[in-house]
């Protein structure tokens, strides 16, 4: 559903303002879900002077209660699946998830390893996949920006998606 089709209870401008604010102020939570660190340091590099994502209002808050975006790097294993699902549940709607790196997409190079369940979409719904091993910071920023575009559409309620459960 686009913004136009929705019932305008408090007038269109307020809704538009809110959408605009959402796109401009995504606070993110980064969770290392069993990654090899390659992706993590690239996520961190996004915060530093060369890439500086605070230009887009992105702040790393480190607290699921405050975050709008969940950046997950790495593969899911039997132990951190619960933590991941928990973090996702704690986040308040509207929320989006970005899976980073080959590992986050499918399990990547570790796919056949003993303790690996697979990509993070096995546990929680993912809105954007950033491929690469590790992806460059530019690619990560691009992925985040694409997810932000999706904040502009859709009713907040739709964003409260259900996780597929812990295996």
């Amino acid at each position: 559903m686009s913004i136009e089709q929705r019932p305008r209870r408090c007038g269109g401008w307020l809704e538009r303002l809110i959408q605009h604010a959402r796109v401009r102020s995504p606070w993110l939570l980064h969770f290392d879900c069993g990654s090899c660190n390659g992706c993590d340091i690239e996520v961190l590099a996004c915060l530093t002077p060369l890439y500086d994502v605070e230009r887009f209002g992105i702040v790393n808050v480190g607290n699921p209660l405050h975050a709008d975006l969940l950046l997950v790097t790495g593969t899911v294993n039997r132990r951190n699946a619960r933590v991941l699902a928990n973090l996702y549940r704690q986040m308040a709607a509207p929320k989006k998830v970005v899976a980073i790196g080959a590992c986050g997409l499918s399990g990547g190079i570790f796919r056949e390893a003993d303790n690996v369940i697979g990509g993070i979409d096995r546990i929680i719904p993912v809105d954007c996949y950033v491929p690469g091993c590790p992806p460059r910071p530019e690619a990560i920023i691009d992925g985040v920006m694409r997810v932000l575009e999706r904040f502009g559409t859709g009713h907040p309620k739709e964003d409260v998606a259900k996780g597929k459960g812990i295996p």
């Binding site: 290392d32 069993g34 660190n37 390659g38 993590d40 340091i41 933590v83 190079i109």
Partner: protein
Amino acid sequence: MRRAVIPFGPQHPVLPEPLQLKLSLKDEVVVEALPALGYVHRGLESLATKRDFHQMVQVCERVCGICSVLHAICYCQGIEEIMGIAVPDRARYLRVIWGELLRLHSHLLWMGLFADSLGFESLFMQLWRIREQVLDIQEATTGNRVISGVIRIGGVCRDIDDAQRGWIQTTLAAVDRAVRQIAPVLREDFTICARTVGKGILSAEKARELGAVGPVLRASGIAQDIRQTGYAAYGELDFNPVIETAGDCHARCMVRLGEIHQSIDLIGQALARLPQGAIRNPVHGKPTGETVMRVEQPRGEVLYYLRADGGKTLARMHIRTPTFANVPVLIDLLPGLGLADVPVVVLSIDPCISCLER
């Protein structure tokens, strides 16, 4: 007095990685710290029995994205020893260059995180900005910023040409200057000293007893560095292990600071003496036998045990990573510290959980 148990991690902004410490606190003073591991365990060693032994080089690089090249070097040296393959001289020097570039970026990264754990955000930003120059070199010479994938069994798969050599030297000189500019802040700044000097002291005896490795060990005054064994081309380059004697967080920081300059110097030496010739020898046949190989990573000594019985895959691979050796030290250091000092001391051993749990 109430006793609060704080789960430090697994998701925590100070640590980019999920190490979980259950801290029992009494008035913000730690009485007990219990590590809870397994959040990053992938069962990577089991892949050795599923993947071709050539492919395993790439897997080893991904034991830890920060020490990637050195894991690959260690693995390849092990296989080369089993199969009796000689590595061309040029390749040995190139391995040193990439290995030291890695140490350089890893130490800068660590220092940034360390500053961040002290709440010194601007220092974090500056250090990571310097680090980007090192990553530029990595990218120009290997094609990738972080995980380079240049090491092969029997040599390396990329070369550094003469034009690049000059450029690397000038860039590293710039890095050296920038680090020298920042060094006084790390060494003398009042607030940094207030937070690091005398925090988490590890005596030399204790360090030996608990089996500490790497900068943690050297900060306690023990001059031990696996590079002294002269693997790759280290035997032909001159360097001395950087040591400090205080054994506290500040000393560990200083050791790493010294090693940054040491790495720059080593890369300079290696570039200057880079011999001509091939970069890779062919590999024939399948490995049979077993070996143990050690390499000095930014975090300390890594140990690979490899056993092969003539198949396409290895029969067993085991890795003991530096963080694995340093966690007992950490558990020993934490009790008695204030909560505010916990992130500082945890970071001072430079934990790499992905290595630790593989």
